[in-house]
Symmetry: D2
Subunit: 281 residues, 4 copies
Amino acid sequence: MMQPSFLQIASTFKAVFLDSYGVIKNYNGLIEGVPQAIESLREKGIAIRILTNDASRSQEQQAEGFYKLGLKSIQYHEIITSGMMAKQYLQHKILHGKIGYLGTENSAQYILQSGLEHIAVKDINLDDINDITAFVFLDDEGFDWNYDISKTVNLLRRKNIPVIVANSDKLYPVSKNDVAVATGGIAKLVENMLTKKFIHFGKPDSQMFMYAFDELNQFGTFNKNEILMVGDTLHTDVLGGNKFGVKTMLVLSGNTRADHADAQIDASGIIPDFICSSIGI
Amino acid sequence: MMQPSFLQIASTFKAVFLDSYGVIKNYNGLIEGVPQAIESLREKGIAIRILTNDASRSQEQQAEGFYKLGLKSIQYHEIITSGMMAKQYLQHKILHGKIGYLGTENSAQYILQSGLEHIAVKDINLDDINDITAFVFLDDEGFDWNYDISKTVNLLRRKNIPVIVANSDKLYPVSKNDVAVATGGIAKLVENMLTKKFIHFGKPDSQMFMYAFDELNQFGTFNKNEILMVGDTLHTDVLGGNKFGVKTMLVLSGNTRADHADAQIDASGIIPDFICSSIGI
Amino acid sequence: MMQPSFLQIASTFKAVFLDSYGVIKNYNGLIEGVPQAIESLREKGIAIRILTNDASRSQEQQAEGFYKLGLKSIQYHEIITSGMMAKQYLQHKILHGKIGYLGTENSAQYILQSGLEHIAVKDINLDDINDITAFVFLDDEGFDWNYDISKTVNLLRRKNIPVIVANSDKLYPVSKNDVAVATGGIAKLVENMLTKKFIHFGKPDSQMFMYAFDELNQFGTFNKNEILMVGDTLHTDVLGGNKFGVKTMLVLSGNTRADHADAQIDASGIIPDFICSSIGI
Amino acid sequence: MMQPSFLQIASTFKAVFLDSYGVIKNYNGLIEGVPQAIESLREKGIAIRILTNDASRSQEQQAEGFYKLGLKSIQYHEIITSGMMAKQYLQHKILHGKIGYLGTENSAQYILQSGLEHIAVKDINLDDINDITAFVFLDDEGFDWNYDISKTVNLLRRKNIPVIVANSDKLYPVSKNDVAVATGGIAKLVENMLTKKFIHFGKPDSQMFMYAFDELNQFGTFNKNEILMVGDTLHTDVLGGNKFGVKTMLVLSGNTRADHADAQIDASGIIPDFICSSIGI
């Protein structure tokens, strides 16, 4: 593993895929030096795509969020979310009925806008579920965990329908030290209760990489070996990038601490091609 | 697998270990015919012990509960709970500091009465955790799931202390069709977040069987082949009983439905020595 | 789930993806009626692709195998194997050094022809492994299990390199009743020993579907909802097809027995859009 | 965690449970200083029991092995093996038929001497298995892995019988750097193929600790807080000892390297009460 700066490494690629949380921003806002790094990539003509497992907000909402933080050049088509993969799935596979969900009304609106009605778990009458044809774990907010998780278990015990997890992340950071249980964690709990297989979207799965790759190739010709995936998490960003066949960089500005990186790479067998402290340095 | 009645089979043993929920009682109260079955066992001089993964109430509280339901002969020493195993562990291994917990004050009082202070997760100040020396998952009630589960994750990220799960069951029945997520399910979620090993008590672990066996042998001489374990769940009652080396009976009055029993035995490889529809018939 | 015949259902699609083993052929040769079914698809102008987790033989070798069995119309570009995915990965990600492998020389030759040297586990000197830069599980034949599995464990303990599993299937059928442990099973054993993450190729992963989809679209315009995936295994063919977003059909001519299908769908939560006894009927 | 010497710590206990491999001996013979340490324990009147997951040899054979290495004071009743737990299980639960096994004839003889016939996998005719009533994974030697592992899978697919794993260890050390796949690893592979639950014996399960505890108490009165469990492996020795409720010591003379110990304790959440470099120092 070589250790020149992010920009030196990135300069040898035609496109860079960036994770959002822990790479571009954190609980505090933009990570130091990120606007300059993005600017440098733009100047060099290097294409940028942001691949995020955040399914709680649409591309437009996320682009707006970056704008408010000061990253004004991010266009919404440059953002690929795991929620988009879930949405695509629902459009192809669920053609009638109502979609039950656990999450906020906002996430339901942008992911479930497939012409079908959607209904929050809390509003479902368990004795009248004939018309519910799929279920989606959207977000960790927007419901009462004390009641709605068990209610979801019972719904899915009563009716065997496709269950989609729009964000497979088990936790997300909320401050320097602390995390919160994320959608993927709750979905995993329910999956454990039922011993069933849900359909998970998001990194490390190849689908998001494929989507980003296809989208990118509408703007030019990009081969896999001309793309660098940059992330702060071995099990999602690096594993997924490696498997998809692009070069990968681990940055130490998020989930993976500098003093733990080597041990975690060794223990996991997930090996990035490059390691940098941050894209902002 | 032979299929005579429970009492015919039980008559060939000196002692019977019974699971509580799904065998003796259910969401409706006592299962039909159970008082008569217990009475018959008493008349034949067959010793009874109740082995339950319910850690939310003490032996005395559970004996009182059976009394109110009409089972007046159950003495408190005949009840062995997974909570007692957790209590014993804490007494031997945690000799100073405070014990954090997730659960009700009632369960905390009977399990944690080891001379040490205890403190509910909601009352813990995450910036002042030096004196917390162990953590216990006691019950699925008594806390706000929306906040206290993530807070537990953060406590256990900040401090590496022994974590005890007083009841490993993932779910419990609340009505004919429905279940609720139990303590063991929440503990599993947190364990997944942290990728750590907690210390789980309750069936199928041998410890409760061993405890019941030792306690029983203070009242006479009982060999393992003179004991029958009766339960409604393959993965706890039957697996645990098989492993401990006693004969096992699956009853179909609880978790395992009559029309699924053979398939589940075949799929799991957990094979009871006997199958009966209920101990009450 | 509707139950018209395979051909009636297939007629409503522009392309059909077929699993090989259990759908087209079995331990006995071609499954009854398959040549006629393939012929009918050709006549209707429905595109065919065969998606197989068999990584032991190249496209050409597999096409030749079908030819010998009497399926003369299968062209080699219509066959997509998990081995091809592994090969692609190696070409993009492993640019120098030697590739260690467990498998036959034949599978090594077609998968590892990336300009790099390859070396069988049995020929590796564990004290001289500096130049080994990746490892591939290719096949369950071609080595001595008593020695070479442990030797692989030790190689991978000594050096942290990317490990690729060219076929994730845990077992394969060898007769009406019996199976054999497959490459994926051995890889899983080694993964368990090391508690590391290997890179697995093959269904249910999206990558093979994506590859087939892209390849297909070089011959016309095919949308996902115009494609039917047909397989005999819920956890690979149906799960993968569902996730990729195409319609799925379970056939009962292979791994999934007719009298178990409903129970397995119910237990797994993996729901095919269609069920047929065979493509040959 | 305090760090005085092993003997200083051990002196405060009435009994010491020792793991064998990595604590008393290794691939080279006795670990340095062990005879003197054992001698010191004897002089102080501290009871010794050796708890080993090695099921390949009987108590007598293992005592003889220690004698030859120069540890002349170890009596055979002081050795408790996971094989003895398996033997006890078979005696209580399997009362007729033949016991199939994977392992050496030697291990079969001492574990399976329960009055029943036993038959090696290689000698089983898969078309005549009516009289086979249980199966035991005994040892990693004594059979051809290329054939007999798949044959075991097929036997257990054809007939649903209790399956016992006499040694749950996944690997064992064969030299300073290298390991070999152990019985528990092979059993896990087969369990994965079948998705069934086998009955595993050996640490960390409570049963061996219970057995040692009961056996010890025939020679005096020993409470749990007067016993120290010493082992080189967090997931077996320390986890098992912690759960059983005795104090635990991790030694760094075997599986757990000095420079990895803290990280592994932190990552696993398995916390020993004491850490020493070796019992011999």
